[in-house]
Symmetry: C2
Subunit: 164 residues, 2 copies
Amino acid sequence: MHVYLIRHGIAVSPELATSDRERWLTDRGILKTKAVAKQLVRSGLKFDLILSSPLVRAVQTAKILRDVGLSDRVEIQPELAPGGSIQAWLESWPTPESKSTPDSIALVGHEPDLSQWAELLIFGEIKHKIILKKAGTIGIQFPTSALVLGQGSLHSLIPPRYLQ
Amino acid sequence: MHVYLIRHGIAVSPELATSDRERWLTDRGILKTKAVAKQLVRSGLKFDLILSSPLVRAVQTAKILRDVGLSDRVEIQPELAPGGSIQAWLESWPTPESKSTPDSIALVGHEPDLSQWAELLIFGEIKHKIILKKAGTIGIQFPTSALVLGQGSLHSLIPPRYLQ
């Protein structure tokens, strides 16, 4: 089982939006995220499911990933909003609507949450040692289809600069 | 200060060489390593110095990195041979011949040593949680020019599949 944690692209500054939830991707953010997504497809990546934070910039990022062919499905996962709980998400995973044993899922969200979720999945504790850039990807593999904190191994951490 | 740990490319199987030290890159290993190196150059990477394990497959890899323009200098570092000691290397670093404060160096070597060196640089202990493929790159940054175990942060872990 592979889990990919993908940070949203570059979004407009907070003063331009009426709330943080509404901040949308800039034109440059869209272009850069598309370039990253296309290179991820070229490298052979495919997700059974993309789960996205409900915030606009994350949903836009998830849809870009879907539209280039990285997945057929995007669902909103409220725990991927800033400050969400990985434990709460894992208790509900897999949902009855999800395939029971997906091989590969992507989680689209925010920092510092995603790098902390990654560290929890790999080490079982937060270490503040992983740097995840906007439109960057963390790839973690598990020995079985069960997602258990501390059981993951890190196989990739891809800043966008390498994919353009 | 950035340290990049780069694993040698695909080498011939042990039975084809008279000793492990002599194992050389296969034609496919050379092609794949060149493709990776060119993409690393395109992404803007540059090393002040490449230190290589003395084994043939590592030296060949280091020279490919140099020849595409990732660095002007390759030096052999005996501690990068399999089983070498990061502590022994750090005690001799920087050498009088090295620039006293390089911004970026690459270490070319072997597994499981390189991923363990990376974990020592980041966490101060070996965790067996980083997977480094052949011709893969680990990127670590430090807050100052001093390399101190446990002081690094991981910013990239690039399997070759993303760079071709």
